[in-house]
């Protein structure tokens, strides 16, 4: 197996990988390759045929395939090397990449590696729903692939567990395809998806959304016949006596996404237990030197526009890394209070402008996010409302930052 030398190997040809590649090439880094597992580029956007993508990035509303095609066209114009139908099976902390292709194994030695593998859906097993194991239980993304890519309808009478955006979008999609979507159940006391999707995917089609409810039993032998739904208490425990039966042949799960980090772990990247993605600094560099991460493999986004912007910022850091061989040390840690779930990045240098991405843990009204260092208020940002479904981004100017002293992010 011949070793192929590359400046940058990009793992995954979804929106993050494509954006990173285009930015790298435009800024003069020519020796790069995108390695993609599927036959086509585009990642999950290939199956997201609904519109609403691109409002921030392109100032117009596009479908997922159109959004990704804009980047694929640039990849082609810029003659960026892409290897599809090829799965990366190992990465080392010395920045070797091993991939399995139809023509056998490929081995790359990279100066920098860009991790853009995206995320995976939580499954029935991950949330331990009791009951039998019939056909007809799908994650929302799998149902979306069957319907939008393979022309296969998944069922007729549908119950959805979880109010994530993909679940709500699939509620509308299946209704348009003639299925009866009986209800969406959410275990939390507030929805996990965006308000506009509750409006245009559920309310438009009179699909009820029940908060503080979950599925407590799955019934049926070969095919799903029905589910039991129970109300839950403040600790999210099912309340005995509240059980209701729903006859259905399909249960769709939209119960969260988890960054896909098998490969990151292989090259010793340290993960953040809160985001389940890598710990990164302001350059999107992980704890492994020369290995960078952006997009849903780093933290789950609600809008692809922010994935592209993040991957482009990553690309600019990769360029300085390749040109100078190192980046500023980032020793300033960022801590949060209990009402903020996490921040990306988790550490900064204090010498560079940066952007914090974060989420609140519970819905809040008329709140204020404060960023402090050494007892000094750096930034106060007011919000009329803040919800866990919406990522918040706050820019920090290097002029405001001091070279030492951790940053504290609090909400009140």
């Amino acid at each position: 197996m011949a070793m192929i030398k590359k400046d940058v190997v990009i793992i995954g040809g979804g929106p993050a990988g494509l954006s990173a590649a285009v930015e790298l090439k435009k800024q003069g880094i020519n020796d790069i390759v995108i390695v993609e597992r599927e036959k086509q580029l585009g990642g999950i956007l290939r199956q997201c045929i609904h519109d609403g993508f691109g409002l921030t990035r392109f100032k117009q509303t596009l479908s997922g395939p159109e959004y990704s095609q804009r980047f694929i066209d640039q990849v082609e114009e810029l003659k960026i090397e892409c290897i599809t139908d090829t799965t990366v099976i190992d990465i080392t902390s010395e920045k070797k990449v091993i991939a399995a292709s139809k023509n056998g194994l490929l081995e790359y030695q990279a100066k920098a590696i860009v991790l853009t593998m995206g995320c995976r859906e939580r499954t029935r097993g991950a949330i331990s729903i009791p009951g039998t194991r019939p056909a007809g239980v799908y994650t929302a993304g799998v149902a979306q692939a069957y319907i939008n890519l393979y022309n296969t309808m998944v069922g007729k009478e549908v119950v959805i567990l979880g109010s994530g955006d993909i679940g709500m979008i699939m509620a509308r999609r299946m209704t348009l395809e003639g299925a009866k979507v009986k209800a969406v159940f959410e275990i939390l006391p507030y929805p996990s998806g965006l308000p506009r999707n509750i409006e245009q995917c559920l309310n438009d089609y009179d699909i009820p959304l029940y908060l503080s409810h979950t599925v407590t039993n799955i019934k049926g032998r070969s095919r799903l016949e029905g589910v039991t739904v129970s109300e839950v208490d403040a600790q999210l425990r099912p309340i005995s006596g509240t059980e209701k039966e729903y006859a259905c042949d399909t249960l769709i799960l939209s119960v969260g996404l988890i960054p896909e980090n098998e490969l990151s772990l292989a090259c010793d990247v340290e993960l953040d237990q809160r985001t389940k993605g890598a710990i990164v600094d302001e350059n999107y560099q992980t704890t492994t030197d020369g290995v960078f991460a952006a997009g849903n493999v780093l933290h789950v986004h609600d809008l692809v526009d922010f994935v592209s912007l993040e991957a482009e910022a990553l690309a600019r850091s990769v360029i300085s890394y390749i040109k100078t061989g190192k980046l500023d040390k980032c020793d300033i840690a960022i801590t949060t209070d209990a009402n903020i779930s996490h921040t990306i990045p988790q550490k900064i240098s204090g010498f560079k402008d940066c952007k914090l991405s974060l989420r609140v843990r519970k819905p809040m009204k008329n709140c204020e996010i404060n960023i402090m260092q050494n007892g000094k208020m750096l930034k106060q940002v007011k919000f009329k409302k803040a919800i866990p479904a919406e990522m918040i981004q706050i820019k920090l100017d290097k002029a405001e930052l001091q070279a030492v002293g951790e940053l504290k992010v609090v909400v009140r």
Partner: protein, 120 residues
Amino acid sequence: MRKEYTCIICPNGCGMEAEIEGVRVIDIAGAGCPKGQEYVEQELTDPQRNIATSVLVENGILPLVSVRLTKPVPKARIFDVIQAVKQIKVVAPVKIEQVVIENILGLGSDVIATKNVSAK
């Protein structure tokens, strides 16, 4: 009459409260931009939606091509539009932005492909 709305124009999804008289908005609170009031006025007179679905492809490397409308259509006509789109087939190659059905059901909106599908 006071009524609550969630704007669907952009992902901000502003929660709005509008004071309504007939089909007129007298006062509005919570809208992050002027599109909020336009949306409420449209909802009061003629609610419109854009929709996405797929069309069968013959001789393509994929069985389906995704499509959307160039302009929103009246909400009450969504299922008619879906039915009309279901009746047709296209032959590969299909190019992104190719018009698949012109002026669907006379509603002034075209159905366009949102994906490239090459021939087998």
